[in-house]
């Protein structure tokens, strides 16, 4: 029995290892290419390691593109969207889960119906609103529609639904109003849900592409994703520089994921169970 399971484990490890190499390989090749000269990258047969690490590729990007600005734009809009969504969605979620008011079901179904709508069905009017408010090429444009989330409200509602009534009753007897119950009692208890929502918002916001492409065409207000597209416009075949830019755009989220990977994985799994 032991032997059988040992050889079985070996096969499992082999299979997983092959899969893992397919997953990580493209990233390693990106990093290696980003440190080569154009000549080295185009060499046949390919050289795995560069003769000398070409850090200048990275310098080139910062010299010819406002990359520091891309970082700031991505970072600040992600933070604002995440904090905004956590607050606004949890408020609405608390109301839908714990307060009885007329029209509650109607409005909840309205929120749910937003979940079903694919983005392209509201992109054009969203763009017009931003244009009419004279907000094109601003950070506000990047943040604004993303502050409101039907998904976030739905996810958090599922959490508030499962909380015991006793806590709320006790707080009411002590004279707490709904905001106090929400803020002091329910919000701390909903921490796993809040973390899950924060992770989704960070992921979507950091990686969002189509919306910034539409509303922010000026380089100083672009996030990393749209900046990457404009990088491609300039260095169409200079793959070492392009790979350096790609690495620069993607490392922060990869590091955040490595640090908080348990929360990431649990957050995504959770949405599967609650959804």
């Amino acid at each position: 029995m032991e032997n059988v399971s040992k050889s079985r484990k070996l096969v499992i490890h082999l299979l997983l290892l092959c899969g893992a190499i397919l997953m990580i390989g493209p990233f390693l090749w990106m990093i290696l290419t980003s440190l080569k000269t154009v000549g080295e990258a185009a060499q046949i047969p390919p050289k795995i390691f560069p003769e000398v690490f070409q850090w200048s590729n990275y310098k080139e990007i910062f010299d010819s593109f406002p990359f520091a600005g891309f970082y700031w734009n991505t970072f600040i809009t992600t933070i604002i969207k995440t904090i905004g969504q956590l607050f606004l969605c949890s408020l609405a979620a608390y109301a839908f889960a714990r307060i009885k008011f007329p029209g509650r079901n109607f409005f909840f179904i309205l929120y749910l119906s937003v979940l079903m709508i694919p983005p392209q069905a509201f992109l054009i009017p969203q763009y017009q609103i931003i244009a009419n408010l004279d907000l094109l090429n601003t950070l506000t444009a990047l943040v604004l529609p993303g502050l409101f989330s039907a998904f976030g409200t739905f996810l958090l509602r599922q959490f508030f639904m499962t909380m015991p009534d006793e806590l709320e009753e006790a707080a009411k007897i002590d004279g707490c109003n709904h905001f106090q119950i929400y803020w002091r009692i329910m919000l701390p208890l909903a921490k796993p849900g809040l973390i899950a929502l924060a992770i989704f918002t960070i992921l979507w916001s950091w990686n969002d592409f189509l919306w910034p492409l539409i509303v922010n065409s000026s380089p100083d207000k672009m996030p990393l994703s749209a900046g990457l597209a404009s990088l491609q416009g300039q260095y169409s075949t200079n793959y070492p520089v392009l790979m350096a830019g790609t690495f620069l755009a993607s490392w922060p989220l990869i590091i955040i994921f490595m640090l908080f990977q348990k929360a990431f994985v649990e957050g995504i799994a959770l949405s599967g169970r609650k959804g």
Binding site: P45, I99, K100, I124
Partner: protein, 304 residues
């Protein structure tokens, strides 16, 4: 008598209070959703019946946009590409994800490391993924064709050959979808009681038999959930195609997705009416397919 009156009055102030707090709490999101999401959907629908001028002015044109849309072969191509992409990528990626999830569920060492590696594409921005794969696929200097050469295979021009470009896109889509699916499926697997497998193996069932008779049926609700969300997102594929395939690419007809063309019509050439019509037709297709999936689930999804 007096007491009950006081009590009912208290009750009604409490209720009024609840109404006040309830509406106050939902007000910000409700307003935001109405302004940025719900009202715009109706607006998009209305726009699809209007002709757009160069300066953002529009006038009623009936079904003309829909006619133009179906007269444009590009649009037919884009719907065909998107359908093929979704119907190949989704089953393919789910099948692979199930295998990986089952392998990871075997109490093996290094689970976290494997999970991290499989999850990497999920946290990488799709624009970056497009860029990386464009380089891997490069016909002359790409590593993929170099590796094929070791086996004396003359690799195709992955991204510029009309026969290959959609396959290339499907590969990238699958590669980046596995992580999310795997994590959700793995959490589904962990919900299956171990005792079932022990009982089956005592009865002499092989692991393969257990997989088909225990794992798949009990995992089917999770698979269903993954299938529904994967289809919805597959129909909206855009980011990495935009990065890998430029509008001047000779294989563009076989590569562009519906959203790619929607973006082109709405924000490159300013034909917002036709773009709105495209958006609406895609919305209907997604809706119908989701309903069909929910109808079909009775046939294969086992709920306890």
């Amino acid at each position: 008598m007096k007491d009950t009156k006081v009590a009912t009055r208290q009750m009604s102030t409490l209720k009024k209070n609840d109404i006040f707090w309830g509406y106050l709490f939902i007000a910000p999101t409700l307003l935001g959703l109405l302004i940025f999401y719900i009202f715009p959907v109706f607006q998009t629908f209305y726009y699809s019946f209007n002709d757009w001028g160069d300066f953002g002015n529009y006038s009623w044109s009936g079904l003309q946009n829909y006619k133009d849309m179906f007269d444009d072969p590009q649009i037919w191509y884009s719907f065909r590409n998107t359908l093929v992409y979704a119907f190949v990528m989704v089953p393919f990626s789910i099948a692979i994800s199930i295998v990986i999830a089952v392998l990871l569920n075997q109490k093996i060492k290094g689970l976290t490391i494997y999970r991290t590696l499989f999850f990497l594409p999920v946290v990488t921005m799709p624009a970056a993924i497009g860029m990386i794969w464009k380089w891997l696929y490069n016909a002359d200097y790409g590593i993929i064709n170099h590796m094929l050469e070791w086996f004396s295979i003359d690799g195709p021009s992955w991204l510029t050959d009309p026969n290959w470009v959609l396959i290339s896109i499907i590969i990238v889509g699958t590669w980046s979808a596995i992580g999310t699916n795997m994590v959700i499926l793995l959490s589904g697997l962990q919900g299956i009681p171990k005792s079932l497998y022990e009982a089956a193996s005592l009865d002499g069932a092989s692991p393969i038999y257990s997989f088909f008779k225990i794992t798949l049926p009990l995992l089917s609700p999770t698979i269903f959930f993954v299938a529904v969300i994967s289809f919805i997102s597959a129909f909206q594929v855009f980011d990495f195609i935009f990065m890998m395939v430029s509008p001047t690419n000779p294989a563009i007809d076989s590569a562009q997705s519906v959203i790619y063309l929607f973006y082109h019509y709405a924000f490159v050439i300013g034909e917002k009416g036709i773009a709105a019509a495209i958006a609406f037709v895609l919305f209907i297709i997604i809706l119908v397919l989701t309903i069909i999936q929910f109808r079909l689930q009775k046939r294969w999804v086992h709920y306890e």
